[in-house]
Amino acid sequence: EAAVTQSPRNKVAVTGGKVTLSCNQTNNHNNMYWYRQDTGHGLRLIHYSYGAGSTEKGDIPDGYKASRPSQENFSLILELATPSQTSVYFCASGGNWGSSAETLYFGSGTRLTVL
């Protein structure tokens, strides 16, 4: 079974500070995703990638950057954190795109609080 590991599990940041959330997957999946989960909104897609070196904007990319330096690693970067970015962030990976009916494997989440 695919393993997706997120770090840190919990993070407290100050407004205006830089935050990096890391994600590592060990199943050699091409596709990786960052979602945030907020009450009343479910999961919303921030950025995604379909391979090393690629990043694509999701539905709510403003205030976030992403980096995919390798097949295994996908980071989410908040250059200037704001309290509105307080949320739980989930990373996911998936092996097949589109017509192959991709199944996503999720990490355990990172709870970010921006003060």
């Binding site: 897609l45 999701g58 989930f90 589109g98 996503l104 999720f106």
Partner: protein, 113 residues
């Protein structure tokens, strides 16, 4: 605009009861639908998916879902719930041929003894 709607935010059932969680979508073209479960404090886990063929799909732990093109729905059902089924359930969809999954807002299921 592509959307996934879960009309029930919270459902409470007794152990042994049946449950149906509703999901409706608004998408053009061919669609891929799935359900995920999230236990408290955990990441989401895949339950089942519909891609094509038989509109009734079976998942893990006795869950099944039925696709209806005419109703634009993909409702999840279980005939007899267990306390361990208490969780948040998410419906998700994407167009076949590309783009990431879009999730609904989730339905919290509470199973009482």
């Amino acid at each position: 605009t592509q959307t996934v709607s879960q009309s029930d935010a919270h459902v409470t059932v007794f152990e042994g009861d049946s449950v149906e969680l509703r999901c409706n979508y608004s998408y053009g073209g061919s669609i891929y639908l799935s359900w995920y479960i999230q236990h408290h404090g955990r990441g989401l886990q895949f339950l089942l998916k519909y891609y094509s063929g038989n509109p009734v799909v079976q998942g893990v732990n006795g869950f099944e879902a039925e696709f209806s093109k005419s109703d634009s729905s993909f409702h999840l059902r279980k005939a007899s719930v267990h306390w361990s089924d208490s969780a948040v359930y998410f419906c998700a969809a994407s167009n076949q041929g590309g783009r990431a999954l879009i999730f609904g807002t989730g339905t919290t299921v509470s199973v009482s003894p």
